[in-house]
Symmetry: C2
Subunit: 338 residues, 2 copies
């Protein structure tokens, strides 16, 4: 199927704009592009493939004749409008957490589990940014040596919290260097030159919702009950999330084997040459499509366990790129999109 009518809900947001750029880069076969946002953004004009497109207000009638809609406007918008879109025959790729754990909604990273797409009912969920990059690195290892347990610490950039959060990090960093201090608005604590060991709200088990998303979504995508623990920390980095991951497997995986498995997996790049001090950093990975893995080593504390450092652009593979990749898979399906 080609000549798609595609809608972007939340077109003026960080992820919405990244989706536009990626659709252009990948020459996605868009015939009509419908840009949707809240009323206050409806004067915005965005550029796509050389044309200027005016952003329209999202309403219940926005989805007539729309084949695919990519939603990135927050959970409450998805909760309300994704079912409306699906009902009108649009296939929704939803970037929010709202439908991810719904058993009737496939949660998809195409390189990992595109087979799950076949069973969609009009809504497909895009995983949390920190999950997407994690499962990309885990999948080839898990297929070779089933994973027994994961211990994860994240180092997540502020772009995961949106445009205003990025602006606050920039502005408040400038103030601090000038000897001034401004109260945080977008964060629970000061973000410049600081760390915040909380992303999203706390759940009853004292994990944050962000930590539980990583845990639950990873299990759903890998179709396993692997025990996972995670600590999610916001760091003063603009773009790209990093993860220190301890991976226990049920049989030995040598460092060489792990490198080979990862290198052969589409969308993963191994950058692991410690003699030359080469390993992924968020600055270097920003703007790239691949998930980068470095610092691969055998855990000296436990048999059959690997340590690694996984970095990816959270706006690309963690959000916009993965959504567009799902749309690319959808248009290859024979019946679901029509």
């Amino acid at each position: 199927m080609t000549d798609i009518t595609l809608a972007i809900v939340g077109a003026t947001g960080l992820v919405g704009k990244e989706i536009l750029a990626i659709l252009e880069e990948r020459k996605f076969p868009v015939k009509n592009l419908v840009l949707l946002a809240s009323k206050r953004s409806t004067d915005t004009v965005l550029s796509f493939n050389g044309s200027s497109i005016k952003v329209k207000e999202l309403t219940q009638d926005s989805f007539q004749n729309v084949d695919i809609a990519l939603f990135s406007a927050g959970s409450s918008i998805s909760e309300k409008f994704a079912p409306i879109a699906a009902k009108s025959g649009t296939v929704v790729v939803d970037n929010t957490s709202f439908f991810r754990m719904d058993p009737s909604v496939p949660l998809v990273v195409p390189e990992v589990n595109k087979h799950a797409l076949k069973h969609h009912n009009g809504i497909i969920a895009n995983p949390n940014c920190s999950t997407a990059q994690l499962v990309m690195a885990l999948k080839p290892i898990h297929d070779y040596a089933p994973i027994k347990r994961l211990v994860i610490s994240t180092y997540q950039s502020v772009s995961g919290a949106g445009k205003e959060a990025m602006m606050e990090l920039e502005n408040h960093s400038r103030y601090l260097i000038q000897g001034k201090v401004a109260d945080p608005k977008e964060f629970s604590h000061h973000m410049p030159f600081n760390l915040i060991p909380q992303i999203d709200v706390f759940e009853d088990n004292a994990y944050t919702k962000e930590e539980m998303k990583m845990i639950n979504e990873t299990q759903k995508i890998l179709e396993t009950e692997i025990p996972i623990t995670a600590t999610a920390v916001r760091v003063p980095v603009f773009v790209s999330h990093s993860e220190a991951v301890n991976i226990q497997t049920d049989k030995p995986v040598s460092v060489e084997k792990c490198r080979e498995l990862l290198t052969n997996f589409p969308g993963v790049t191994v950058l692991d040459n410690i003699q030359e001090q080469e390993y992924p950093t968020p600055r270097d990975v920003s703007g790239k499509d691949d998930v980068y893995v470095g610092r691969i080593r055998e855990d000296i504390s436990q048999k059959n366990t690997l340590e690694c450092w996984i970095v990816a652009d959270n706006l690309r593979k963690g959000a916009a790129l993965n959504a567009v990749q799902i749309a690319e898979e959808l248009i290859k399906l024979p019946v679901n999109v029509a």
Copy 2:
């Protein structure tokens, strides 16, 4: 013993200046203070208890009549001058890594293992900053329920790399905000708004020296062979190191019990009220003496395992404070200092 003649080797460095401040704060019984540094710093005058003291050049003759010398001038200086000082009857408290794993040298965090001080031969080692705060939080847990394995991810501030590194983070952050970029000098990669998953050089097992220091020193101080793995990451924070630590014990430790054990341990503060978004951040902990622990929760992936978040001022408990505390213990000993 009172009226000590005390020398600070590396008096003009970050840790040296912090030692001066802490000696004043704690009213350490200094009769004569000898400030030593390399020749290029010998014009510097530093203030102590209202007097101005000129920094002298460190030479082989610097230690005559010095009771205690606190060394913070790098491993090669300690390697050369600590034995000279010890030979002349001075007790050395060494902040560098040079002697830490020497079996004849006690490696001491006073709250944890001050008993080890009794067996010194003129040189006592101060642990690595990331180790000191770690063992403070682990000791009360380990005494109650022996630890079986640790998985650690660190988030370490640039002050651990010295004054120039702090200046580079500040200056290069300003440049970046102004749209300019300067090549890193103090770091292997750009530090502003970035992460560097390497501290110190790599060892043969692909761990960094910093990671192996944490592992080996923690085992030495806790007098155990606990299996430990660690990933050490430099973050764009000026002061205070943070650690996400996964602690497996050989019997259950409830969150309440863990809080009680930590609260009752001297030098540890539990800051763990997630309903109010209270947990330690490096910014809030900078300038404080205590080791702060928050995000305490039962690991949902494994029995008898806790997760926690440990933050301390790396220049204080991680370096200067611990060195002064060792000196305080030394002057209580009956014979070793004379």
